[in-house]
Amino acid sequence: MNCPECDANLKIPDDASVGEIVSCPDCGADFEIASKNGSVCELKHAEKVGEDWGE
C-alpha cells in the first residue's frame, strides 16, 4: 500500500499485527496498523509519545 502522507510505497510485513507501528522509508511518518484483514491494512497516524508512557 501507499503512504497516506507522501504516497511512497509502504511495505507492511505479512506477520505485522494490529497495534504495530510502521514507518514510511521516504517521509519518515509513523503509522499504526488500526485493522488488518488478510493483506489489507487500515493505517492511522501513530499516537505521539505521551507523558504517561513507559513502564
Binding site: 497495534g19 499504526e32 513502564e55
Partner: protein, 285 residues
C-alpha cells in the same frame, strides 16, 4: 488449558514475546487492543472474551490503569492488579510504601508548591534529584546541582502547570557506581537481573541507551527485591536498585508494566515464560 489474554495499546517486542511464549506453552492466546474495547457498568464478564487471565501491557500508564479497573469490575483476573499498578505508577506512593515496609530506599522529600520545594532544597542541600511523580524512561528526571538550576526547573514547572506539576518529588542523589540494577520479580522470585550502565549522564535507563550487563542474583539482591515487590502488592514487577557506597542496596523505583527486551538479551531464564506461567498459576489458584 487456561486462556491467556494480553491487553495492549502498542505492540512492542515484549508483547510479541509474551504472545509467542503463551502460544508455545499451549495456551489459547489472544491479543486485545485496549483502544477499541468498550466497557460499561452494564456489561458482564460473559460479554467479553477476556479468558482466564489478562496481562495488562499498555504503554500508556493511565490507559492501562483504568482498563485494569474495568477488568477487576468484571471479575477478570488481571496482572498486575489495580492497586499494584496504582502504587507503582506513582513514584511518591512507591517511595512511601517502600519506607513504610522497611525497604531501604533513598531519602525522598515531597513538597506541594515551588516555594516549599525551594525550602526543601535549601534545607537539605544540593544536589537533589527532581522526578515527575508519574513518568518513565528517565524523562523529567533532573539532577538539581545548584540553586540556579533549581530555579529554572521550578519555573518551567510553573509554566507547564499540569495537575501533577504541583507535586514536587525530590530525592537524595545516591553516591554509587555509574550504574543501577534492574531486576524482574515474578511473584516471590527474582527471575533476571542486569546492570544498566550510564552512557555518560547520571541516568541509567535502557530507553536512553544504557547497556545491559548480566548481574548475579545474590541472596541479598533477591531479598530486597522481593521485599519491595511485597511492599507495593506483588505481581510481575521491575525493581530498580542502586548500590549506595555506604548503605548497600537501595530500591528507588518499582515498575508495573515492566519492559524486558534489554534484560532478555542477557538473562539466563526465559522471562516471558516465567511471566506467562506465573499469570496462569495465579488465575488457577
Amino acid at each position: 488449558m487456561p486462556k491467556v489474554r494480553i491487553v495492549f495499546d502498542r505492540v512492542r517486542l515484549e508483547e510479541k514475546m509474551l504472545e509467542e511464549k503463551a502460544i508455545d506453552l499451549g495456551h489459547d492466546t489472544k491479543m486485545i487492543a485496549a483502544k477499541i474495547t468498550n466497557v460499561s457498568t452494564e456489561r458482564k464478564k460473559s460479554d467479553f472474551d477476556f479468558g482466564d487471565v489478562v496481562l495488562e501491557r499498555c504503554v500508556s500508564y493511565f490507559r492501562g490503569l483504568h482498563f485494569t479497573a474495568c477488568l477487576e469490575f468484571l471479575d477478570v483476573p488481571v496482572l498486575n492488579r489495580f492497586e499494584v499498578a496504582n502504587n507503582c505508577g506513582n513514584k511518591m506512593l512507591t517511595s512511601l510504601l517502600l519506607k513504610k515496609h522497611n525497604v531501604p530506599t533513598p531519602k525522598t522529600y515531597f513538597s506541594f508548591s515551588s516555594e516549599s520545594a525551594v525550602e526543601t532544597l535549601d534545607k537539605h542541600g544540593y544536589p537533589l534529584v527532581i522526578k515527575p511523580i508519574i513518568g518513565s524512561w528517565g524523562r523529567g528526571v533532573i539532577l538539581l546541582k545548584d540553586r540556579e538550576t533549581a530555579d529554572a526547573i521550578l519555573e518551567v514547572r510553573e509554566l507547564t502547570d499540569g495537575p501533577l506539576d504541583r507535586i514536587f518529588y525530590l530525592q537524595e542523589a545516591i553516591k554509587r557506581p555509574p550504574r543501577d540494577i534492574r531486576a524482574i520479580a515474578v511473584g516471590d522470585q527474582v527471575v533476571a537481573a542486569m546492570y544498566r550502565t550510564s552512557t555518560g549522564g547520571f541516568k541509567t535507563n535502557i530507553a536512553l541507551g544504557a547497556e545491559p550487563v548480566p548481574c548475579e542474583i545474590t541472596g541479598e539482591l533477591e531479598d530486597i527485591c522481593i521485599k519491595a515487590s511485597k511492599a507495593v502488592g506483588g505481581g510481575i514487577l521491575g525493581i530498580d536498585v542502586m548500590e549506595d557506597e555506604k548503605r548497600g542496596f537501595v530500591v528507588h523505583e518499582v515498575n508495573n508494566t515492566v519492559e524486558f527486551k534489554g534484560l532478555a538479551k542477557v538473562a539466563k531464564r526465559n522471562i516471558p515464560k516465567e511471566m506467562i506461567e506465573y499469570a496462569v498459576n495465579s488465575a488457577v489458584r
